[in-house]
């Protein structure tokens, strides 16, 4: 479809609310007095939040960038807008403060205390001037660095929108000067004063986008602005001025496109998809300021109006100025201030706090009494009158959307093109039941966003779960394979060792605890080989330790049984005795062993120094073992003594128990003596060895 500029087209529906625009156009557009302090939220666009690049205590000049947006991977430019200092002074705070928001949210902000000098960034003047030489990418970067967002109210980052227009073929550049909402005159007053700057901005955009047509769309209720524009546009320029009838919401992007060109943006598409880039007047002027005058976005035109003000008017307001500061300069009458609305009466939202800052999307501050603004009525049931459908500029079925939204059938609402709703509020305006329809739609859209997010999260969780399952299976398989390999190896070794054992004498494979250790020892002594004797001494050590543990355990069981006053402790006592005997036998063996080792070492020493060197640790190890045995025996003696003492103290101890304990004590003492003896013997045996070594 080709655009048709021969006539002004129509869009469906629309309303004609009282304009109330003349209230604020009587006084000229002026700069508001500089504030002492500005609060600059880091989130001032509909994109990502900017990150502060200054810290508390820093001195900043007017126009200095104080927060930047990180460029995400895979994106040519950041989806968000930088923030600049709107006055010079010191950064006093980086804090989370209340910002203008329908939900009264708090958001990270940078607070600057003014030094009253309003110094610009010093190197501004040295910048090169000729924007016509700049490449498109450089121009886009300049616009992005200036922190410009759509000043009409949506706050979409301008460089992102323009980059989209640059990437695709732009047929129509549409400058939106319609400003259809009641009360607001910011664009009107800006055009009256700075229509030349608007033309400059358009030239920059034309240089960037190279569109086939350039159209300024303006409502017919702004005669002065139209006259100024006509004067500013050269006769031979390609800029076309289209005056459209006053009907809300002609300033809606899609509606204005339809009005001037007859083109309709298809459902779910953006204007750029049909080759149209639409920019607000204020945005275009800001582009001119940024590109030609190197001035970032630090102030904007704000309409300050309503019957609570003595001098309703338009101001150039530095971003971050408190609303109270602005209203006071317009002659605020606090007793009449019952409702404060940011934005227009149709699409704006009520604020409850006068200390909130003016932000990039603040096009209007409407301070009025309940009588003038009309107190919101009580919501009543829908009577299905159909008025809303008649006025809907997006040709939706507001009634259906309302039913679905109110009954949580959000998917159904989406299937009735809820996403094409521009939230203009025309339906709510005409609703005889005072239903806050737009709020239902906004709620439904939020719920749909949540559902989409949840579906995405569920998909992510599913993928992670499946990846984990796959990993676990793989690990289990690997483990099983490893285990099988190990088992096979072990079997191989076992069969090999069996084969060698069969070919060798029985002694090396005989590991029975009760077996007499003397034959292998004598054998090893006879061959002067030390390693077999060492091995058997180790085996004995292990057997000794095992026997000790068995004894200890039996002792413990006995004590426990006694503590439980069980009658039949004789079996346990027998067990203890048995364990003790076994231990004794082993100790005897180890005594012999230490003798043998020392005996085997002594003759070996003269033969090879190496053999004696390697035998010394073995001897000292067996010595150590003997010492340990002695200590264990000593502790057993002490334990037996203690047990006896306890029994004697206990009133109900029988004579038998006492006797048993006494016998145990005697046994332990005997054992200790044996251990002591063995140790002394071993020490005696070792001394000559060490002497011979040294």
């Amino acid at each position: 479809m080709t655009p048709d500029f021969s006539r002004v087209h129509r869009f469906h529906g629309g309303i004609q609310p009282p304009e109330h625009k003349q209230i604020s156009t009587t006084m000229p557009l002026q700069a508001a007095a500089l504030p002492d302090r500005v609060v600059l939220p880091l989130q001032q666009s509909s994109g990502l939040m900017a990150q502060a690049v200054v810290s508390v205590g820093d001195y900043v000049y007017r126009g200095q960038c104080i927060a930047q947006v990180k460029t995400l991977e895979g994106q040519s430019s950041a989806l968000g807008a930088a923030v600049h200092a709107s006055i010079s002074g010191h950064v006093s705070e980086l804090a989370t403060l209340p910002v203008p928001h329908p939900g009264g949210l708090q958001s990270p902000c940078i607070v600057i205390e003014s030094d009253g000098l309003d110094l610009p960034v010093p190197d501004h003047v040295q910048r090169q001037d000729d924007w016509q030489d700049l490449e498109a990418e450089q121009l886009l970067a300049t616009i992005g660095a200036a922190g410009i967002v759509g000043l009409g109210g949506a706050g979409f980052p301008t460089h992102t929108k323009l980059a989209g227009g640059f990437a695709q073929d732009t047929r129509l550049l549409l400058i939106n000067a319609a400003e259809c909402e009641p009360y607001i005159t910011a664009d009107d007053m800006l055009l009256r004063q700075r229509s030349a700057a608007l033309i400059e901005g358009i030239q920059v955009l034309v240089h960037l986008l190279e569109p086939e047509h350039v159209v300024i769309g303006i409502e017919d209720n702004k005669s002065e602005a139209i006259a100024c524009l006509r004067a500013a546009i050269d006769d031979d320029s390609c800029i076309q001025l289209v005056v459209v009838p006053t009907r809300y919401p002609s300033g809606g992007e899609k509606q204005l496109i339809q009005l001037v060109s007859g083109l309709e943006v298809p459902s779910g598409k953006r204007p750029i998809d049909i080759g149209v880039v639409c920019q607000n007047v204020g945005t275009v002027v800001a582009v001119a300021d940024a590109v030609i005058r190197h001035q970032p976005l630090i102030e904007r035109v704000v309409t300050v109006t309503g019957d609570a003000l003595a001098q309703p008017r338009n101001f150039y307001v530095r971003l971050g100025t408190s609303i109270e500061h602005v209203l006071t300069q317009a002659g605020l009458r606090p007793q009449q201030l019952q409702r404060l609305i940011m934005g227009g009466p149709m699409m704006g939202f009520a604020l409850t706090d006068l200390s909130l800052p003016v932000v990039k999307t603040t096009n209007c501050l409407l301070a009025g009494s309940n009588e003038a603004l009309g107190a919101p009525g009580e919501e009543m049931p829908c009577i299905r009158c159909g008025e809303c459908e008649a006025v809907c500029p997006a040709q939706l079925l507001p009634q259906q959307l309302y039913w679905f939204s109110a009954h949580q059938q959000y998917q159904k609402a989406a299937s009735f093109d809820l996403w094409d709703c521009i939230e203009c509020g025309a339906c709510a305006y005409v609703c005889p039941s005072d239903i806050p329809l737009v709020q239902y739609y906004r709620h439904a859209k939020d719920e749909l966003r949540v559902l989409t997010d949840e579906a995405q999260k569920a998909e992510q969780a599913r993928q992670r779960f499946e990846a984990r399952q796959a990993r676990l299976t793989r690990q289990a398989e690997e483990k099983a394979a490893k285990r099988a390999a190990r088992a096979a190896k072990a079997q191989q070794i076992q069969s090999a060792s069996k084969a060698t054992a069969a070919s060798q004498p029985k002694a090396t494979s005989d590991d029975s605890l009760s077996s007499n250790a003397t034959p292998p020892l004598s054998e090893s002594a006879s061959t002067s080989s030390i390693s077999p004797s060492l091995r058997s001494s180790q085996q004995h050590k292990i057997a000794l330790a095992a026997a000790q543990v068995a004894l200890k355990r039996a002792d413990k069981q006995l004590a426990a049984a006694k503590a439980r006053r069980e009658e039949d402790v004789t079996a346990l006592e027998a067990k203890v005795e048995q364990a003790r005997e076994k231990l004794k036998a082993l100790q005897n063996v180890s005594d012999t062993l230490s003798d043998t080792v020392s005996a085997s070492v002594t003759p070996a020493t003269p033969v090879t120094a190496k053999a004696s060197g390697s035998s010394t640790p073995a001897v000292s190890a067996s010595l150590k073992q003997l010492k340990i045995t002695r200590a264990a025996a000593l502790s057993a003696v002490k334990k037996a003594e203690k047990g006896l003492l306890n029994l004697q103290r206990a009133t109900d101890a029988t004579a038998e128990q006492l006797d048993a304990q006494k016998a145990r004590l005697a046994g332990a003492q005997e054992q200790f003596e044996a251990a002591e003896k063995a140790l002394q013997k071993a020490q005696l045996a070792t001394e000559p060895t060490q002497e011979s070594n040294s």
Partner: protein, 205 residues
């Protein structure tokens, strides 16, 4: 004459045989080419489940429960999905929606696990329990939960030997427009109502 008959019979037989072979080959090709490996209904059921992998249905994960539903198991065993999931499953499978088969106090509030890191002893038990690998840490080192990946399934709470894991309500990511209170209440949006009767938009567009 009989020779002619024979020729036409042979031709007919040949033609029919040819056709049979042709269609047989076609069907054989179609069978291999358009083979369906899995029951597609399982995928559809799985897509409706919330993928918390919490096991409250008695199955080790959402996919096994989807398999079980396809085999005829009840559709009301998923507490995290709540009524909306039951309804969606009922719609998909043409069964009657049933009331949720769970404790009455089982709330469908979105939750997220939180490890009191000072008390964590680094036993890795919770890491092994997490069905979506949302806990990071190593043996004898502190563990923590990746909030964005946590499905709030609760499975890590029980294995913790020092009870340092608790479930917190998931913080809302964004502010949401509240639903209006309905008829009989004052709306919250500022809307200019003055001069309503005289300025209603025309219907002629």
């Amino acid at each position: 004459m009989s020779a002619l008959m024979d020729a036409s019979v042979v031709a007919a037989v040949l033609a029919l045989t040819g056709l049979a072979l042709c269609f047989g080959a076609l069907l054989g090709f179609a069978e291999t080419r358009f083979k369906v490996d899995e029951d597609p209904i399982v995928d559809q059921i799985d897509a409706l489940l919330p993928q918390t992998q919490c096991g409250q249905c008695g199955h080790p994960g959402c996919r096994p429960y989807a398999d079980a539903i396809a085999q005829g198991e009840a559709i009301n065993r998923c507490p995290p999905g709540g009524e909306s999931t039951i309804e969606a499953l009922a719609n998909l499978l043409g069964r009657d929606p049933l009331p949720l088969d769970a404790d009455a106090n089982a709330n469908s509030e979105k939750r997220v696990a939180f490890i009191r890191e000072a008390e964590c002893i680094g036993c890795t038990k919770c890491i092994q329990a997490c069905p979506v690998d949302a806990i990071v840490g190593a043996a004898k080192l502190m563990h923590t939960v990746i909030v964005d990946e946590c499905t709030g399934c609760d499975l890590c709470v029980a294995p913790c030997p020092v009870d340092c894991i608790e479930m917190h309500p998931r913080p809302e990511a964004h502010w949401h427009w509240p639903q209006p209170s309905g008829p009989g209440h004052l709306p919250l949006i500022a809307t200019d109502r003055s001069g309503l009767s005289s300025q209603v938009g025309a219907h002629d567009a």
